[in-house]
């Protein structure tokens, strides 16, 4: 299996390590969903998790901001750190962690409120804006960063659910950006979108790269190849291979990875 020390030798260092996972195991009741996974996420890169359905890539993603806490039967062992701080430590404030590690979900899930309120909600509950003007500024900036500003600036009071699917997903990205996170987790953000909306989200990911550490789970291997710098291939809860995207797709070291990449199974 993948050995991180070996990887750091082969992978060209391009920036600081934002999140680390060491020997992480996840159990759902008796089911061993994630087996001994160790991985590093770099601050200025897009990391893609690929693998067949049920391989545990989404489960692992949801461990990175402890969204799995809400699943009663889920149990996590091992070590996960954000900037060296153990996120499963009892001292860790989950609410704060999720503000620092934002998330975008598979299905666009804007609040059934206005576009403005969708963005403003996060900054408001975290007390990030001291005045209405500051809040307006955060909303505008977030929407601009998410590439949605020009499309919605004249109708900020319209309901977020009235937007198209692709716009909704960008609204969700803007909502995540608004609380100024350090990491953005994306759980198959394009699986419910058409190709044109997908292309826009991919462009957006490219633009956000560098500002936020981005981890994206995807079913679509071409997408992983297009947007990510590092790719991790999961299979049945194992991290089979992790490395620079170009290497994973052109020169996979493991037979299983090769079979998956070439479409032998999926």
């Amino acid at each position: 299996m993948y050995n991180p020390t070996e990887a750091t030798m082969t992978v060209q260092d391009t920036g600081a390590i934002k999140m680390t996972a060491r020997n992480v195991n996840v159990f759902y009741g008796d089911k061993h969903a994630i087996k001994d996974v160790s991985i590093d996420v770099r601050a200025d890169e897009v990391t893609a998790f690929i693998g067949p359905s049920g391989c545990g890539k989404s489960t692992f993603l949801r461990c990175l901001n402890r969204m799995n806490d809400t699943v009663a039967s889920a149990r996590v062992t091992g070590e996960m750190r954000l900037d060296g701080q153990d996120i499963y430590d009892r001292q860790m404030d989950v609410v704060q962690l999720r503000a620092r590690v934002g998330m975008v979900f598979q299905k666009p899930n804007p609040f059934p409120k206005s576009i403005y309120e969708n963005i403003a909600y996060g900054p408001r509950i975290h007390g990030l804006a001291r005045s209405r003007a500051e809040l307006d500024e955060i909303v505008a900036t977030s929407l601009k960063k998410a590439g949605l500003w020009d499309e919605v600036k004249d109708r900020l009071n319209d309901s977020g659910t009235a937007l198209s699917g692709g716009q909704q997903q960008r609204l969700c990205i803007a909502r995540a950006i608004a609380v100024n996170p350090e990491v953005i987790l994306m759980d198959e953000p394009c699986s419910a979108l058409d190709p044109i909306a997908t292309a826009k989200i991919e462009e957006l990911i490219e633009e956000l790269r560098g500002r936020y550490a981005i981890v994206i789970v995807t079913h679509n291997m071409q997408q992983a190849a297009r947007v990510s710098q590092k790719t991790a291939f999961f299979h049945l809860g194992d991290l089979v291979e992790y490395g620079p995207t170009s290497e994973i797709f052109t020169n996979p070291k493991k037979e299983k990875t090769k079979d998956y990449i070439t479409g032998r199974y999926g």
Binding site: M67, V104, K107, N109, P112, G122, I125, T161, A176
Partner: protein
């Protein structure tokens, strides 16, 4: 055989025109038609029942909103009232006016109206034309306008229930005197008054401003209505917050284990418990253990709150469950605390369902009689309750009490009270529908 040969094992093509097939199709159509006809019949039967119910209640009850009055020239003679003009001066003039004896002047006016009746016994009978409420009516008239003392004025005073019933046609004047329960002489007086235009029917404002009475023509619904409103206020105050918070806790916080399963089963069972059991519970707990006052709206409200709680908990849980998990994820994903997730997102989105359930629960509480009988809210209350601890009764209990009365005059009052109760229920259901339409959200 001119059909093409089929491969081995394949079915022969279906012949849709064969007699057996045609019969099958005909049978299917007949079944459809029969089912539709049965549905229609069921609908017509229920519509007829409803129409009959409404017709009978309206037919009996609409006259309950009217009262019969007799025109009299009343002389407010100080000697008959037992006061003097001097009593009008001073700070306690109103008290003295109130304490005066108004029992005679109404009868005197009638005796003056029928000068041909001279026998004292017959003159006593004359007074039976007037309602016992006449004295109170005359007192209010004089207290409102003390200048009338010593003067005569033409007034419309309330008629006795027999006159009322005669006037509304609910006593058949053609029956023999014994059967109709009103003497020939009284009937004669009534006819004379009627012929002279001294009897009129007017809208019964008293019915909507006063409380119960022994005399059907004076019995009014406002006391019971206030009792219902006060009781429901207490019920809402207790059962809404407790029910919603219980539902939120069970849905969003409680671990799913045997204990919560047990609680869930019990809540569902409680919703089906006959309401009289809650009455006994209220009797034992609120009156027995805590020694609270009987007949008080606060006790009735608490008892009905016990009964309504399961309904609200169940409706709220369903509404909370219907909020998509993606909304919770979205809020959690940007760092909302569990409390913020619940109160900023889940509860507002579930609120239309919660409110609908609450209003339906309250409508049921409004129509509930049995548990209130147990805690003494079937008392005869002649004052409109003004606070949560005043003795009171409620609308359905008032219906029950009046329907139990022997006087003929209470028949129309019972139906009139039912109409008032149904108008309230209709308004609550309309509110529930309105809230559901207005706040329903789609995502």
């Amino acid at each position: 055989m001119n059909k093409p040969a089929l491969a081995d094992g394949a079915l022969t093509p279906t012949d849709w025109t064969s007699p057996a097939m045609v019969a099958r199709i005909r049978q299917r159509y007949a079944r459809e038609a029969r089912f539709k006809a049965m549905g229609l019949v069921a609908l017509v039967i229920s519509a007829l029942f409803l129409a009959f119910l409404l017709y009978s209640i309206a037919g009996n009850g609409l006259t309950g909103f009217q009262s019969t009055e007799i025109r009299l020239n009343v002389a407010f003679k100080p000697e008959a009232l037992g006061i003097t003009a001097a009593d009008l001066a001073g700070p306690d003039a109103e008290d003295r006016l109130r304490q005066a004896d108004y029992g005679l002047i109404g009868g005197d006016a009638l005796i003056a109206r029928f000068p041909e009746v001279t026998d004292p016994g017959d003159q006593m009978d004359l007074e039976e034309l007037l309602s016992p409420g006449t004295a109170a009516y005359l007192r209010e008239t004089l207290v409102d306008n003390p200048a009338l003392l010593g003067k005569s004025i033409t007034l419309w005073v309330p008629a006795a229930t027999d006159v009322d019933m005669l006037n509304k046609g609910q006593i058949d004047a053609d029956l023999p005197a014994l059967e109709r329960g009103i003497s020939d002489r009284m009937l004669g007086y009534y006819r004379q008054l009627k012929a002279d235009g001294d009897i009129r029917t007017s809208f019964n404002t008293r019915f909507f401003t006063a409380a119960d009475s022994r005399d059907p023509e004076l019995a009014a619904i406002w006391g019971a209505t206030m009792g219902s409103l006060l009781t429901l206020f207490v019920t809402l105050l207790i059962s809404f917050p407790v029910g919603v918070l219980a539902a939120v806790y069970l849905e969003e916080y409680a671990p799913k284990n045997r204990l919560t399963d047990f609680i869930e089963v019990n809540i569902n069972n409680l919703a089906a418990v006959p309401s009289i059991i809650f009455g006994l519970l209220g009797l034992a707990v609120f009156l027995g253990t805590f020694g609270m006052q009987r007949s008080a709206p606060v006790v009735g409200g608490l008892t009905l709150a016990l009964m309504t709680l399961p309904t609200i908990v169940i409706a709220s849980r369903v509404a909370i469950k219907a909020v998509p998990p993606s909304i919770r994820d979205a809020a959690r994903g940007i760092g909302a605390s569990p409390l913020q997730v619940v109160f900023h997102h889940v509860v507002p989105l579930a609120l239309p369902g919660i409110m609908t359930g609450t209003i339906i629960g309250m409508a049921r509480a409004l129509g509930e009689t049995a548990p209130l009988l147990m805690i003494g809210m079937r008392a005869f209350v002649v004052d409109v309750p003004a606070s949560l601890t005043d003795p009171a009764t409620v609308l359905p209990v008032q219906v029950f009490l009046w329907s139990d009365s022997v006087e003929r005059g209470f028949v129309e009052k019972t139906s009139a009270a039912i109409i008032v109760l149904m108008v309230f229920l209709l308004m609550m259901n309309a509110l529930a529908i309105y809230l559901r339409q207005k706040f329903e959200r789609r995502w």
